[in-house]
Symmetry: C2
């Protein structure tokens, strides 16, 4: 093999690489002469190539040892590709319908070969900005989260399996640190990387930095993020990590994966749907007031949690006499006790999800990385008005999450801000 | 070196081993001819030899690949010696006054050579049964716990240091599983290993197995034990893991060490002091009603927590601008906010400690391994009466721990059971 040490590929060397790699070249019928290769890495970190031949296709994702959108001044381990591949394979086995298949992984090259999600797949966030409804989204995402989280938790795993896996993913520490910084730290202090829609939100950003109760609550969430190895989480499950068509939902980019709190994934997804909701007022035009679409988003938020709850508890019930070591059947042996246990577990998970979701919303408004939902609103004062509503909701959720008993109450709180 | 693979030593082969091991033979002036060797392993798991020469001494502790007191039918990894040595060295660096020095570790042989804790050092539990006061005990143990727990937590460590250490100690999973079984599972179900003072406590044991709320609470604690990597804990910090003289307090036997919840250590120590308290009525005789001694135990319980709180928060204050990544000084920048954060942290830790302490008490009364405090009470009905009071307190602590605001309220609850 020609590549015995790491080197970043380009379109030309990629072809050499494919020729020398049977698990890739076989996907295109070993015909490398008529390939179309397109670099499409619009993320912040990696290079992504779409490779299409006359009889097949795949995607190549290569991590480079720094943050692509910043440059070599911000080093970032390329070992993240290893954890991404590991998580793709693990989650893919648990939920093959919603995770793209991995064809090839090369640790030396930090390179993953995987299924090309062909058109009309687009990034969910872009669909949400465009106002496209995805009737199966809640069903699919709740399925993905229920399966990946349940089966990697102690509800299903033995302690031995759990600790072995936890230890392995401790290696993904650099990506965990990045999350700690951008989600749990930067928004709450003066940081060179922070930005917001200025001057409109200057006071709002300052209020976040001055809010003692908010900081108290975000500290609790951060400590859960750092210390609680509950399940193998995706670690970055916003609407930019999901590709969709009306019939297909595919979760990509789990390079932040590690054993952390389940609510971090659930919250990331719900929180980003809430951001999409509040952004809609910035995307109205004469032909479309987006009212129907906003209702669809709210329904999707509600259904995602409701279906997740249903699927997760169904898996639990199905496997309650299995190998999971959290609740031994000899102890949790009566239906009313199982009921009690499950209600407590799901209530705590709901509150975690609201808290983490809120933290993810806040950081997208006053932190370093913003979302296209808001960024694409050209009129800054309009954008700021949308962002302010989202920020207000997020602060309430973060500080008072334990008062929310049901997802419908969250929907009501969202509506209230718009009345 | 003669021992290239594991073999259990006896008095004779131990001498050969010492001769071939400079780090040991140097401790006795390289004179192996006049050695006195005594096997004293009265624990459940290992062989322990005291080696005394004319110009020095040490202790040899060797793990064997099964549970000593049961036999080869209960296998138990001898790798526990590796984690014990690691914890002894780590905790020893952080708190050398209260951890015996390690002279030698041999992973192949699962063998630790360490300081011999010479007479009048005795196991604290034996001192408590005998009614001996240790005026410095609270001071020393609070010092040990504050230092070992603070310095191995994210209050002092960076995320990178933390995750590396967490991963390493994930390897000690077999010992964690043993704790899960004997502390969090067996007492709450019918198990061949359980025993209690029968027939007196038959109903009490059954009541534990039938108590839904108790089981709900113990599940929450178990999940913290399995999932929360808060600090490098000793993992078995009862009064049998402490050796004392009036002036010296030495913590031994950290073979259960791993990254877990701090409250598990604090609770283990406090809970075992409470067991010692309730056992005193079984140790009265004509000359000694143990009343004064009981007051000393209560004072020691109160002071241990109070001093721990003081020392731990002092370390926190001293290192608040250090490398610890839990609470960045730029965010937690105001005295009143620091106050808020600290109060919340210490309140949660207090409640964790009460919960874990209670769980450790319960398992010593209706689980597999009992304590000499009670076992040495010959009269079964008297013993059962003592145990029942301890069990009642433990159930209250476990179920209602969040209602306790201060250690003095725990002391009051203890007194109330005796009135």
């Amino acid at each position: 093999m020609a590549f015995s040490e790491f080197r970043p590929l380009d379109e030309k060397s990629l072809i050499e690489y494919i020729k020398a790699t049977p698990s890739l070249s076989s996907k295109i019928g070993d015909k490398c002469d008529d390939l179309t290769i397109k670099e499409v890495g619009d993320g912040n970190l990696n290079f992504v190539y779409i490779v299409i031949g006359s009889s097949g296709s795949f995607v190549i994702k290569q991590a480079i040892p720094y943050v692509r959108c910043i440059g070599e001044s911000w080093p970032m381990t390329k070992e993240r590709a290893y954890f991404e591949a590991l998580a793709l394979k693990e989650h893919g086995q648990l939920c093959p319908d919603h995770v793209p298949e991995v064809y090839h992984f090369d640790r030396t090259m930090s390179l993953i070969g995987m299924r090309y999600l062909e058109p009309p797949h687009i990034i969910l966030r872009k669909g949400l900005v465009a106002g496209v409804e995805y009737p199966l989204l809640a069903e699919h995402m709740s399925e993905y989260m229920a399966k990946t989280l349940f089966f990697t938790s102690l509800l299903y795993r033995t302690t031995s399996e759990h600790k072995r896996a936890v230890a392995e993913f401790c290696g993904n520490v650099e990506l965990c640190r990045l999350t700690e910084q951008v989600v749990f730290s930067d928004p709450y202090k003066v940081s060179q990387y922070n930005r917001w829609t200025s001057p409109y939100l200057d006071h709002d950003a300052e209020a976040v930095r001055e809010d003692n109760i908010l900081k108290l609550e975000v500290a609790e969430l951060k400590s859960k993020f750092c210390e609680r190895a509950q399940a193998l989480i995706h670690g970055d499950l916003h609407t930019g990590s999901v590709m969709v068509t009306p019939n297909s939902t595919q979760v990509i980019d789990p390079e932040f994966a590690f054993y952390g709190p389940m609510g971090f994934d659930i919250g990331a997804f719900l929180g980003n749907l809430i951001l999409a909701f509040f952004a809609q007022d910035g995307h109205t035009d004469e032909g479309n007031d987006r009212k129907t679409y906003k209702e669809w988003i709210l329904r999707t938020i509600e259904e995602t949690w409701t279906l997740f709850h249903k699927k997760f508890t169904a898996l639990w019930h199905q496997h309650k006499d299995g190998s999971g070591e959290a609740y031994l059947p000899e102890i949790y042996n009566k239906p009313e006790l199982q009921q009690l246990i499950q209600e407590k577990y799901m209530k705590d998970l709901f509150h975690d999800s609201l808290g983490f979701g809120a933290a993810k919303m806040i950081r997208r408004i006053v932190g370093v990385a913003h979302v296209e939902d808001f960024e694409s609103i050209k009129d800054a004062s309009k954008r700021a008005a949308c962002e302010r509503q989202a920020l207000e909701l997020a602060k309430t959720l973060l500080k008072e999450r334990r008062k929310f008993q049901a997802i419908t109450e969250v929907i009501s709180a969202i509506r209230k801000l718009q009345s």
